[in-house]
Symmetry: D2
Subunit: 421 residues, 4 copies
């Protein structure tokens, strides 16, 4: 049984998440919202509708007596990958949906949002839990919506700007010197500790063992990446994983995604939500693949952190502020003080870890169709940690496990180095 | 030197063609106009802009003193395949252009149309010829615009209707019995005879030799095609060209494009400009590939006509009315009377011929960049004749050579049989 | 009913053809005979077995009472493309057959050859006709065996020599100056005239119409091709068919197949049956695709001949000697004397024509499974005429229609120019 | 400095390994040894030559004064993937090498073996270490040679038998009941402990943490796999990883590789080194991919073991005998007695683990070109443990990490289940 206050909070959060998604779509034309620039990405319209379908299929269908689907054909169109929910439009065909129009999809959103509000009070707790899951699900799509629209605009020779203000453009500060921060070692616990929401893949909390190691205090910068390029990093097979080398050669990779050459042929600009802009040397490098991150680390005489190393360090910092409570606060042992030097852990860029995305010991997928949410992707991908400028604030936490294939780089991905001690 | 009346007519035609294209785009959303459903097709927006670019690049650039390009970047975006005009957006990427918007493209159209009107009077004759070519070019894209939008809507699981009225839906009449009409044989002349406009590939007029043969008086019908299916036509390798068989098996071809099964699994409907509709047995079958047309003909104990056979017969009928002047008219020898039985020669469906698209003896491509218009496509394609319901009326003539690859079938293609006598 | 002498001649020819094939395989190891270097080519072992299967499946099965198949599984392995003969090993998998061994395949050959000899006398005439067809079929494979083994060795970085003597290495003579030889025009007859063997696709003999034209007296040379390269021929899109340009760019084509650069980066050698050798300037260029031949012709201000032009000229020369009977011989009108200047018409290189491979007017495929022999390949390919150094002498005739796709060039292909008069 | 006895042992081992490889190739024809049935596999001839090249390139080139390469072109042909050693024949082209012949490759082997023997005494220790590495390298290729030749023969419609005796055909014993054996938990050490040879990727030995778990006492059997099939295991998406499901559907996977249907359509046989044979229900299932193993485990309510779980258990058993020393032996604590129930840990089938192939904490690749041996493959693959019937006996050890992509199954792979306690 959910108590009244919790229910109110959840409803408020639901309303707010729904509104935020629609805000992100503002300024996009029906065409912008319809086109799929590559199979990995989805159209804005599809994100808008799919997140709505989630509530319709998993909550309203069971919990809202008398609710008639907005359009019964949408079940086929906007299911993403839930095999248990039946056949669906193949992923690479999502860009064919010029109909329904953006306007119609917004109507679908309103209708479902309203239906949830109407039926909210009477919902049983397992459906309220699905609403909570649906909010987090929608927040994930808020981030994807942003990376996918940047990808679309970045594929258009006109390179149109999406937003005047780049999300998370917090690079005005001066570059900081890189410090190595020793992490805890020995037996540590990682995984979600049970307070607040978490996806199934973050559980169960469990013990793991860390060897002596240190993490870089900040992310790798554009200037450092530029040095890697100038040192022939993209031409030196010794630095690369075998699969990464094959990927780089086949796709003619020679710089981060969205880097652009100036008229003199030199790397001087990049593309992003604001359109094109100059490369800022001390800003963290973004849009690199795992393969590139790994090669860079090898070149730098370092390695990528494991997810356990990252989480152990990250759990000492506050996800929203990035701040360290400080040794003077009660319960913070002096020994943890070095963690205060860690910067950009949260909300700047997703940081590739050296950990494959695999189940934690004792992992059990959630029951029902939403059990397909995470577990079935546990092969071939690597974990990223920390959240990016495009990640909703409430979506960031120490135990969060994001995951992508090692060649993918259209997300806001960056690099934090680590080393053995 | 172009005389005044000719000039006036040309300008009027130009204005009318431009307006017709825009009329075709009415009712399409920005999204509809932007998406490319397959590499062979282009977005409506692209057709609208490319036909405009043609006048800007080939006429205004030289002939309109002081004309500044509407947007200099459009030269890259909207060149189709003219190597001489420099690099251009790859064909399969045309669907990425959510910007410029449809509205902006319409502005581009107006601007160029207006500039042509403004500068028209002073243009030298070779540029007036390019305007005439540009009008015919735009008429070709009017047809492609229609087939491409039908293709887009036909790829959308919602199967939206484009137009309430299907172009050329002239199937209310009763089915006619098929008659065999003997054609002229011996030395005949084909190719454009010099009166009025023609593309370079229709020239020079030349002699060819026809063996005794007959043409079917009408096109193959849906009912006849259905009999072919029921007789196992799509499962009998003996009937097929080797490449056609491989194509059909690889693509799981088992009926004309856009045919649809009813709930009982039977072929009972089709998709078209009006959305879905019932299959009408006596209507001519449409959207079949050369491979299918050839297999059907073999099954029927017949063959496809050559383009010379078709043109020789077609030149006895009036392209606009499809009518035969009749034996009583002066100059029409009695011997040609049988041609009066030919139906659906013009303006119903493009009819596959058994002729590869190759240069006529003595063919010379037009000079300049427009020399790329036709000649460079002369390998691997087959000629179609007659024009379809989507072909502008003034665009139809006996000598017209349309051409497509043998597997393509998203055009309004049909089948007329022929046989040796 | 076949008379005795005809029968004797046929049997002698059969024995001789069988022996010649085996002679071609001499010196090849079991490995050489087993590997398939590309899907277009077949292993020697497969050629040896398939030509044997032809006699077993089409003659012995019906005509040899009591004949038990050598190995019943071979029917699946060695059928090439006869759909009527049932399922078969996919073409691209022919290189997997390391078993049966080359020795075993030779045993298969002996067994079938012997069985044909044994049963020959009693065979009905339609089976004798199939033996004759089988001999011509095997001669075709004799040529393919050679081009395929050259292809295999040319794909091996060691570039092993196959034969010390290059087939048809008749280039010791001095280069001749190119002359233009005017051909007959007006109504001419082409196609097999009924004397001796011909494939179904060479029939029926029929009238066609030739416009005034001339043929080059000799083939294009390596030196002329080199000038084409030096003039930027492979970089100038204007010269190319659209499909050809795409093919050349995608496959990085910049010279004929088997041309090789020397240490100075210059084209100085080529690979062939004898291994590597120096390029001889006045030797005819070989191993070019239709696309290349067509581009070269355009660059040279000429075109390729049609197959009717070629055959009309070729029918004045003797296929075996290439010689012209001369004006003094009875029945040779003075007007044909210019044909005496034509060189290298037969037995040097297959000459690409500008004619698509299509059925002649009135064409009827042979009855039965062998009806699949030719007709089903009549789309997308171009006709070549004349025969090459690898073509068995008795296999060359004026009406012979060889055919390949326009991008293929591993056959012994060359170029004769033509022009309009 | 290597002492005399160690040196003698190494030389003896070298000679013996070289001889064993050649023994494996006995009975193969030149053709068998040349063909590459799929890009993942290599021809026998290539294995024979590449293992020889390893000694030539890494030992003789530096350590054998006056040694002239057997054939300098072999460096290009037989380098596998060592970028530091320069360009090389692309992997998928290894099957083009019909020359050098098998006989010539055997000559190459003798020559290099002899040269190593001749120069052995004077070699510095780092080259002796490379000889030791080369022996282990060659043993790996001994296994690949077997799996690749089985793959070739299994791709031949004739399904030829390779060896009368199937390697490791130790299935005559009765099936044992499956028991669950609890493993050690808490902090454990894994990785090579320094005694004897190990590859770099097995080091450093390090602590890891195990949660409570149990391992199955034996491998999954054919009968159990058959039950999985009958229960619709290959049709139930819920059981599969997303990538695995896509792989299975695209490749029409419905049973282990090499399983064969009988005439009644039922799975009743399999292909292997002995050719075809009946499926034995109690024999361990072989030739399954990680995707299949993972789906089976999920269906069985279990999971795959981690490599740390496997190694911790495996280190209690003797790799050669598979036996457990027993509680009575000195130093074997009573607590380890349950491990005695583990069967088929070594030398039967490689067992998929749930662990991605990643570097151990503190991993450093070997110096020089051989540093490419292992580390660069550390993405996208999964670890297998235990060794198969095709693994040389001396090559089996508890810390050994084999690795393949999750879709690969032409190795002798099997499944041991695990579960959480």
């Amino acid at each position: 049984m959910v108590d009244l206050d919790t229910g109110k909070l959840l409803l408020a959060r639901f309303v707010s998440v729904r509104a935020r998604t629609e805000q992100l779509a503002e300024g996009l034309s029906d065409a912008d919202a319809s086109v799929q620039a590559m199979p990995d990405a989805s159209p804005t319209k599809w994100h808008l509708a799919h997140t709505t379908w989630f509530f319709e299929a998993f909550v309203l269908r069971e919990g809202a007596a008398g609710y008639a689907p907005f359009d019964s054909r949408y079940h086929y169109l906007f299911n993403s990958y839930y095999e248990a929910e039946g056949p669906r439009l193949a992923r690479h065909l999502r860009g064919l949906l010029t109909r329904p129009s953006l306007e119609k999809v917004m109507e679908y959103r309103s209708c479902v949002t309203e239906a949830i509000r109407t039926h909210f009070t009477g919902l049983p707790s397992h459906l309220l839990e699905l609403i909570e899951l649906g909010c987090h699900h929608e927040e994930q799509h808020q981030e994807l919506l942003q990376t996918d629209i940047v990808n679309l605009f970045g594929s258009n020779p006109l390179l149109p700007a999406w937003h005047p203000e780049e999300p998370g453009a917090s690079v005005s500060s001066e570059p900081s010197e890189l410090r190595w921060v020793a992490g805890r070692c020995g037996a540590v616990e990682i995984g979600h500790d049970g307070a607040g929401f978490a996806f199934d893949c973050e559980t169960p909390r469990h013990t793991t063992w860390l060897a002596p190691h240190a993490l870089a205090s900040r992310l790798v910068t554009n200037a450092e990446w530029r040095a890697f390029i100038d040192a022939g990093g993209y031409q030196n097979a010794d630095l690369w994983l075998s699969d990464g080398w094959a990927w780089a050669k086949e796709n003619l990779i020679e710089a981060p995604l969205y880097w652009r050459r100036g008229v003199d042929g030199d790397w001087s600009g990049q593309f992003g939500p604001r359109g094109t802009s100059a490369l800022v040397g001390h800003a963290p490098v973004r849009h690199v693949s795992y393969y590139e991150a790994d090669a860079f680390a090898r070149w730098a005489g370092a390695r990528l952190p494991t997810e356990a190393e990252w989480e152990t360090a990250g759990s000492h910092l506050h996800p929203l502020t990035g701040g360290f409570p400080g040794p003077s606060e009660p319960g913070i042992p002096e020994a943890n003080a070095p963690y205060a030097f860690l910067q950009q852990m949260y909300g700047e860029l997703w940081q590739w870890t050296a950990s494959a995305y695999l189940p934690y010991p004792g992992f059990r997928p959630a029951a029902g169709a939403v059990g397909e949410y995470n577990g079935k992707f546990m092969s071939g991908q690597f974990v990223l940690r920390g959240g990016s400028c495009a990640t909703p604030r409430g979506h960031v936490r120490a135990s969060y496990r994001n995951f992508f294939y090692p060649h993918q780089r259209w997300q806001f991905t960056g690099v934090r180095l680590a080393k053995d001690l």
